[in-house]
Assembly symmetry: C2
Homo-oligomer: 288 residues x 2
């Protein structure tokens, strides 16, 4: 019997251990990089990469663990830059003061730059067939670059305070959140040398999963518990951001998330998908 809670905990601790070992040590820059990356987070992107590789038949987790850790470096970079005064100007993240409040804006900026670059370094040093690694790097760079996550952030700035259609909101979140989640699955599949059909299925799962994740995120920002979340709630409303619950109402938004999760699961073969099915259900019910 698959125990999701134990699985998530074990995997998160595996990723945490890898990050602890891999991240640079010594000096203010390294300290700042470690501050935001270590000791927190659900490690969802890393866990998805590992689960995707396993879905594709890969069993040697150690060999792909640095890639999983790299995704968490990217997540940390995006959080640090997103929290900066010129962006969302947030003060609390994962229950701690944000990076720039502790290390100053300049070092926080550089820590983000360093983490983003370090992620590519980790990928480039994987001991796996170069073609597989390069395919993963390609998907990752596309997902988080100027046509992916970074463009999502730019649209977010541009559209804040404006009235959006549901279509625009989806465009925004496909880039801002879903792109990296989706890339986590595609990277895992590429590293495992998966067949094209599996890559496509896992990417579909990733996109639907990403949509559901964002809707739940919006709901939690509106009605969640700041204690459990480790960050202030209500910041979307404060910043005048359009969200799914704002646009649809909480009830309809919840239903949209539930449907996306069903579609995510439908893309996979159930017998191989136990872990990914579990993670999908978990995202719907998460409180933080």
């Amino acid at each position: 019997m698959f125990n999701l809670e134990a699985y998530l905990k074990e995997r998160a601790s595996l990723v945490e251990g890898a990050l602890e070992k891999l991240l640079p040590k010594g000096g203010k820059l390294a300290e700042s990089m470690r501050y935001t990356t270590l000791g927190g987070g659900k490690r969802l992107r890393a866990i998805l990469l590992l689960a995707s590789a396993e879905y594709s038949g890969w069993t040697d987790l150690d060999s792909i663990l640095p890639a999983a850790a790299a995704l968490e470096c990217i997540q940390a970079y995006s959080l640090i830059h997103d929290d900066l005064p010129c962006m969302d100007d947030d003060e609390l993240r994962r229950g701690k003061p944000t990076n720039h409040l502790v290390f100053g804006e300049a070092i926080a900026l550089l820590a983000g730059d360093g983490l983003l670059t370090f992620a590519f370094e980790l990928f480039s040093k994987l001991k796996l067939p170069a073609g597989n690694v390069l395919a993963a790097v390609r998907d990752l760079a596309e997902a988080i670059g100027p046509s992916g996550m970074v463009e999502g952030q730019a649209l977010d700035l541009e559209w804040t305070g404006k009235r959006l259609t549901l279509e625009q909101l989806e465009q925004l979140h496909l880039r801002k959140t879903a792109a990296l989640l989706c890339a986590s699955l595609r990277c895992g599949a590429h590293l495992a040398g998966a067949q094209e059909a599996d890559i496509t299925a896992l990417a579909t799962y990733g996109q639907k999963f990403g949509l559901a994740f964002q809707i739940v995120d919006d709901l939690l920002d509106e009605v969640g518990d700041p204690e459990k979340l480790g960050k202030a709630t209500g910041s979307d409303a404060r910043l005048g951001k359009v969200t799914y619950p704002v646009l649809l109402g909480a009830e309809k938004a919840r239903k949209l998330a539930a449907r996306a999760i069903e579609e995510a699961k439908a893309a996979l073969e159930p017998e191989r998908g136990t872990a990914l099915f579990g993670i999908a259900d978990y995202v719907l019910s998460r409180q933080s």
Copy 2:
């Protein structure tokens, strides 16, 4: 007879054309990325990559041009982030207002992030043997990441206003400037599938070249013509930064640069090194 001026001009225009074609178009983020990357700069890093590949026997420049363009994206990213108010707070770059003055801090931050990521995307899409590309990505990421360029920037912040030894200054500039210049040469060699001996020779050239480049940069900041440079001079002194001329005096600094250029050239085989020899001499005499 090798005409250096014509060579540099032709190569810079080749790189400019590639950047124009490759960089994303449409929207504020793309506009901001293009603003700093296009229409200026000596394209030294790109030219070094191409020349290094040619030194290693590569003749098909078109196939590696996106990698050369990628280095200029990285250079532009580092300039945009370096000019931000929380860093050097500069107002003029390549004769134009700095990125954040035109697009605002938030978009400038994202444009830098986008350019850095896009550079890796360009590398990952090269139509070359995956092993060669991955070796280049590895060297590049190491050179510009938390043990390279980003660490150089962090040390620069930490050490500004402090009395440094010549050794510390060298440590700083090896990371801050020489690392990317050196990686430009290593990347060209890797993409060309060069022998280890050639890679080592080109890397030595790159390191010595980088040192000389930085010393000349320091001298120009002290005594250069702001018109020709397209940026304010005297900013090192204003920011309390230790430089080679500050530490050694202008005359000794100039000699150190000249020696480094001789050592750079000595690493190469003269019959193959015409272009790289020329570029080395050019760096010593440059006025901008």
